[in-house]
Amino acid sequence: MVGTIEANGYAIKSIISLLFYDFIEQLQNKKKRMTEKQKKFWLEVLNA
């Protein structure tokens, strides 16, 4: 049997990190329908 509980746990943690980076990237590059104030709010939430 190959594979470990630890590897799966770290893979999940990494997926969540990638999701955050993706959210931030989208926020930084989102041009429409978001004011600077809204963008600032979301970046603060993500970076808190």
Binding site: G3, Y10, I15, F23
Partner: protein, 215 residues
Amino acid sequence: MAYNPFMANTITFLKNHQRFAWKVRIVTAHTYLEKLVSTSDEQVKKVLILRITEELISSTEDLAMWIGATQTRSNPTKAYGDVWEYMLLGSATNRQIVEILKDIARVKTANGLIKKLHLAPIEKIASVANMSREDIQNILSKILEAVKASQSNRTVRRGVLLRFHNKVKHGMMVQDYGHELFIRDLMLGKNGRKKNRNLYLDLDTEKAEKNGGDN
């Protein structure tokens, strides 16, 4: 992706999961392992080996669910508005879980995995994360390795480990055979005939340590 007030809750959930819940199975398995190597009680050892194997199989399901949630988020439905809702409401049969894992396991490169997960390109992720392209590629490669191993674990010998997992959680399927544990599995064929598929689990501390990842 819609940025609405509920998403702040989702981000809180994700942050919390990243701080705490992701390691629940790891801490559980390590705690079992510590006891496993320190106890001289054979029956306690057997119980712990059963539980570690159960955690291993459950962890493959966790991984598949996170992949499913990550893929679904870019195309939210009424049922699954975001990642958190998918994790709360989502359920998948073994066949669906294996399909999710197989689909990802077919991927050959880090770039391919990024596309499958519907994430921004590696360069953009690396820039936001303040990491190198190689760092992000390494992270993706590790995810890919875990997925491939999980797919193997769930499909080996026609899913014997999964069936084992389902039986073990209802402990009456397990019998103590001295130097090993016997798990009787019974399958009903399409022709209505019953077929025994028995599984024996050795009292192997080394294997249990490998499953936990403490090696």
